[in-house]
């Protein structure tokens, strides 16, 4: 048990990969065995990750916990270094929670090349967990890149008609971002020894050799020259903004989502997009605080554009999946809006909304996937009056629609409300535009629901549709439970987030606690002069 406790993060992260290696030795004709095995691996992976939730010390949730550190590439100063704080705890739980549901949803949807499919799904799971637990930038980058490959195959092999185009677009887009990210990482890596030599406290804690230790980078943040921060922020911005995706880098997302198989979309929306926002939270904000403050207007504007533009485009979509995809752009805009409000409310809401988006958009993709599997079309005009033949389906769809548009009692409300409070504190205009996004969001979602579920069921193809079976219910019910839980009793989440968020605000926006907003705050450079 002690061994387990000491190595729990590695075990959680590599659990799916180990399962994949076993899977490789299975006969590819024996599809049932492969399906059972893969589902069992991710489900047990979730169970293995549960102790994290209970063992996590909430009193010090801003400290890295469950830390493991083993030298890896010593000549570079790269370590195998993992650990989580409150923010990553939530993201990891989200990943291990969505994994089994996505896996289960592909039971009948994937009929050809089953073995490869599950192998890639398992590989993807490890890649995502690896990104969240890494405390070493080199290791982070390796996972960040590795993850692209299985996702590329999931879209490219099991996707829709334009899958090749969508897959390559996804890959190249994110790759361009990643390589620029790498340059930013290298810049930090090489400036570290200079800074460590000047500041004894950093040198004492992290040494003076070049290092990829993220905590060392956090420690040197106050001493980084503004000019340097500006450039690195830009490099990080491209890398992370493509992943989020922020306007105007979002164009890969609708293609990737629409063409990906259902489970791929769930993972893509539920977890992959969070890597971009996580990148901002973990790297851009705390390592480059001065530049972050400088870039607030740009980031907020882009976030607001994404909210409104994403919502407007979503409204016009004739395809259900594309609609949900564009709603993702809008929702991620909210996440960014809250984050760059740079106050506790905004950041808290931003992180909670990341989880919410994973839950509700993940569920919506599952819902669209279920109807697609029955009808092989996602055209909204093909449907209507489905609530008569599929009452259970319609109920769940309704709950998730409400969750997505932020109805009180459900999770979406908590996130959006806190974000709006944060945005309001930052500037009323951001809040006004953000608020219009909520209205638009309600419009397109409710309109979608009305067009597909209500009215007369006239299309003969729709009259004999079967309602949800047990397996489909099993993929959706856990999401509903969590949606209600966050909606009714979000305190556990905020309890975990409070400390790391406050720490973040203290680094980026120290004036906040003195009662000033970042908008009129003075930017003080390390040397002491006021900008």
């Amino acid at each position: 048990m002690d061994f387990f406790r000491q190595h729990i993060l590695s075990i959680v992260a590599f659990w799916p990969l180990a399962g994949m290696f076993v899977l490789l030795f299975m006969n590819k004709e024996n599809k049932t065995l492969i399906r059972w095995w893969a589902n069992l691996v991710v489900l047990s992976g979730f169970l293995v990750s549960l102790p994290l939730w209970f063992w996590f010390d909430r009193a010090s949730s801003d400290k890295m916990q469950f830390v493991e550190r083993v030298p890896w590439i010593q000549s570079l100063g790269a370590d195998f270094h993992v650990g989580i704080d409150g923010i990553t705890l939530l993201l990891i739980m989200l990943t291990t929670f969505l994994g089994p549901l996505a896996m289960l949803s592909s039971w009948t949807a994937i009929e050809n090349r089953v073995k490869e499919y599950y192998a890639f799904m398992l590989m993807l799971q490890t890649g995502m967990l690896g990104v969240f637990i890494s405390l070493d930038f080199f290791m982070f980058y390796v996972f960040w890149e590795v993850m692209l490959v299985p996702m590329y195959f999931l879209i490219g092999v099991w996707g829709g008609p334009r899958r090749l185009y969508a897959a390559i677009k996804f890959f190249l887009y994110t790759l361009v971002g990643s390589v620029l990210l790498l340059l930013g990482i290298l810049a930090l890596y090489f400036i570290y020894p200079t800074i460590a030599l000047q500041h004894a406290d950093i040198a004492a804690q992290f040494g003076t050799m070049p290092t990829f230790n993220i905590l060392a980078f956090h420690a040197m943040a106050p001493y980084l020259p503004y000019n340097f921060q500006w450039w690195v922020f830009l490099a990080f911005f491209v890398g992370f903004a493509i992943k989020v995706p922020m306007f105007p880098f979002h164009t890969w997302l609708p293609d990737a989502h629409v063409e990906a198989p259902t489970a791929g979309s769930v993972i893509l929306a539920g977890v992959l997009l969070k890597m971009g926002t996580y990148g901002f939270l973990r790297f851009s904000l705390p390592i480059l605080p001065t530049a972050t403050v400088h870039f607030i207007p740009m980031m907020m504007t882009l976030a607001v554009i994404a909210i409104v533009y994403g919502a407007l485009v979503a409204m016009m979509q004739p395809d259900m999946k594309k609609l949900v995809a564009y709603s993702s752009v809008s929702h991620m805009g909210f996440v960014m809006l809250g984050m760059f409000a740079l106050n506790p409310n905004g950041l808290n809401g931003s992180i909670v909304q990341q989880i919410n988006h994973g839950i509700s958009t993940g569920a919506l993709f599952l819902i669209v996937g279920i109807i697609y599997e029955r009808r092989h079309t996602r055209e909204i005009s093909q449907f209507g009056g489905l609530s008569t033949v599929m009452p259970v389906y319609a109920t769940i769809f309704l709950i998730m629609t409400m969750s997505s548009i932020g109805l009180p009692l459900l999770n979406g409300f908590i996130g959006e409300f806190t974000i709006m409070m944060g945005a309001l504190q930052a500037s009323i205009w951001y809040a006004v535009f953000g608020g219009s996004g909520i209205v638009l969001g309600a419009a397109y979602m409710l309109w979608l629901y009305q067009r597909t579920m209500f009215g007369k069921n006239e299309n003969p193809a729709n009259q004999k549709l079967l309602d949800l079976n047990l397996r489909e219910l099993a993929t959706l019910v856990p999401l509903i439970i969590v949606a209600f839980w966050i909606g009714l009793y979000p305190a556990p989440l905020f309890k975990i987030l409070d400390k790391p968020v406050n720490k973040l605000v203290e680094t980026v926006n120290p004036d906040y606690f003195k009662g000033e907003t970042p908008r009129n705050a003075k930017v003080v450079t390390p040397a002491g002069e006021t900008r």
């Binding site: 090349r113 980058y141 890149e145 092999v157 190249l172 390589v179 340059l183």
Partner: protein, 479 residues
């Protein structure tokens, strides 16, 4: 000064002597042995034996033949690379030559001679040694490119390669003669000392620099002197293409590093400018041209052009990180590329030419293992972690960032990202297209062994690169 050479000097070139000896033996054995496959095994034995001698020279630093040759970590590293490349090439060739019905003993002998010449090139500290070994290598390669005598394309490739090669050698020699005229010595270190005395903008040294660079750019296939590459790579027997794209290229880089980092080092401000322009052009043109190819040999030829552009970045950065990158990159590139070419060699089956990317369609259904290995090699070429190619690129980019070549770094990484596009085209063919014919690849045991070795090193360098980084660091601190 004592005598011109002494007996100890023979020990210093023992690995080369082994190769020459076995080359001779192969020529004689060719008359006696009916099944030419055995000649391949003999040559593998020769390479192993030469490798044994090389192993014993590890860590020894001597200057032999009164300074014409040097045994140092740098040459040791490259010699190891050449031996490995030659061994893998021979492993890949065994069955291929049977299919092409051109199985002759000279093939192996020529590889031995070319490898021997490369090993001399890596150790040369003198323009004369450098030039003679370069020509020995080149002549052996010309013949190997045209080895498919009945094949029109092979003949054309050989002739083209020969003409342009001879032309570029002439230009190179012209530059060397200028250097000799200016400095009165052919010794690289003496040249550097003499150049140091002259003004930086001395017109004669500039002409010498430009002509020598041009000659070398031809050999490493840098843009704008790359035109011969696609044709030569396409026409040559595929196994020889593999050999050229790794060993010949690595040898030319060894020469480039020696000449630029020692003899021409006083002119560094000038050649950094030249190399920067050439490197950017080479990366970009190579990658863009590769995108439009449908013939996989031509595509890989352009890909190898762009890789030469990346490697130049290491010399441009010129700091320990950047220089370390070159051996690591070449090492990673050698294994990865041999792996890729092994698959292309296996595409050549009875009655099927197998050179189009389409010929790989649906490989995953027919030979899943080969497809997955090819995928890993292609990702490594594109520089994705955790493969060897990423570690190589990491060092190159790190060198640029460390020396604050920001613009160049951005151009380089964007090129790396773009190159993914054409590697993915092959992946698409293998994994996402339906196969158009029943026959799979002709995977002979030799090819499987080569692919296995390539895979092990590609992943090993990618996941735990420490030993290789140390090896490369020792290699580049040129003394």
């Amino acid at each position: 000064m004592g005598q011109f050479f002494n007996v100890q000097d023979l020990g210093a070139i023992a690995p080369e002597l082994e190769l020459m000896l076995f080359g001779m033996i192969l020529l004689i054995a060719d008359l006696l042995v009916e099944d030419k496959k055995w000649l391949g095994f003999i040559s593998l034995g020769g390479i192993a034996w030469s490798g044994y001698f090389l192993w014993r020279l590890h860590g020894i630093e001597v200057s032999a033949y009164s300074g014409l040759l040097v045994i140092d970590q740098f040459s040791w590293f490259f010699k190891l690379l050449f031996l490995l490349a030659a061994a893998l090439t021979i492993a890949v060739s065994l069955k291929y030559l049977d299919i092409e019905k051109e199985h002759h003993g000279e093939y192996y002998a020529l590889i031995m001679f070319a490898t021997m010449a490369m090993m001399f090139m890596a150790g040369a500290m003198d323009l004369i040694t450098l030039y003679i070994s370069l020509e020995t290598m080149a002549i052996a390669t010309y013949v190997l490119v045209g080895f498919l005598r009945g094949n029109q394309r092979s003949n054309e490739a050989s002739l083209k390669y020969f003409l342009l090669g001879a032309f570029s050698s002439g230009i190179l020699l012209y530059g060397m003669s200028l250097l000799y005229g200016m400095t009165g010595s052919t010794r690289l270190t003496d040249i550097a000392d003499a150049l140091d005395q002259r003004s930086l903008n001395d017109p004669v040294s500039l002409i010498a620099l430009v002509t020598i660079s041009t000659g070398i750019f031809f050999k490493i296939a840098a843009v704008p002197f790359h035109q011969w590459t696609p044709d030569a790579y396409e026409g040559a027997p595929t196994s020889i293409t593999a050999y050229m794209s790794v060993a010949v290229k690595a040898a030319s880089f060894a020469m480039l590093i020696r000449v630029f980092m020692i003899a021409l080092y006083p002119l560094r401000p000038h050649w950094v400018a030249i190399l920067t322009a050439v490197s950017v052009l080479t990366m970009t043109v190579g990658n863009i041209a590769a995108m439009t190819q449908t013939n996989i040999k031509r595509m890989l030829a352009y890909s190898s052009i762009s890789h030469a552009g990346y490697i130049l970045l290491g010399i441009i950065a010129g700091n320990p990180t950047g220089l370390t990158a070159i051996p690591i990159y070449l090492f990673a590139y050698t294994f990865t590329n041999i792996g890729v070419w092994a698959v292309v060699v296996a595409l050549r089956r009875k009655d099927i030419i197998g050179e189009q990317i389409d010929d790989l369609n649906g490989l995953i259904y027919k030979q899943p293992t080969a497809a997955v290995l090819m995928l890993i090699f292609l990702l490594s070429l594109a520089g994705m972690p955790p493969t060897a190619g990423f570690i190589g690129k990491y060092f190159l980019f790190a060198g640029l960032v460390e020396t604050q070549h920001s613009t160049l770094a951005i151009i380089a990484v964007l090129n790396a990202a773009v190159s993914m596009y054409f590697y993915l085209r092959v992946v698409v063919a293998m994994f996402m297209k339906e196969s158009n014919e029943k026959t799979g690849l002709s995977l002979s045991p030799g090819i499987l062994v080569a692919m296995g070795v390539a895979l092990i090193f590609t992943l090993w360098i990618g996941i735990y690169p420490d030993p290789f980084i140390n090896l490369a660091r020792q290699a580049v601190f040129l003394g």
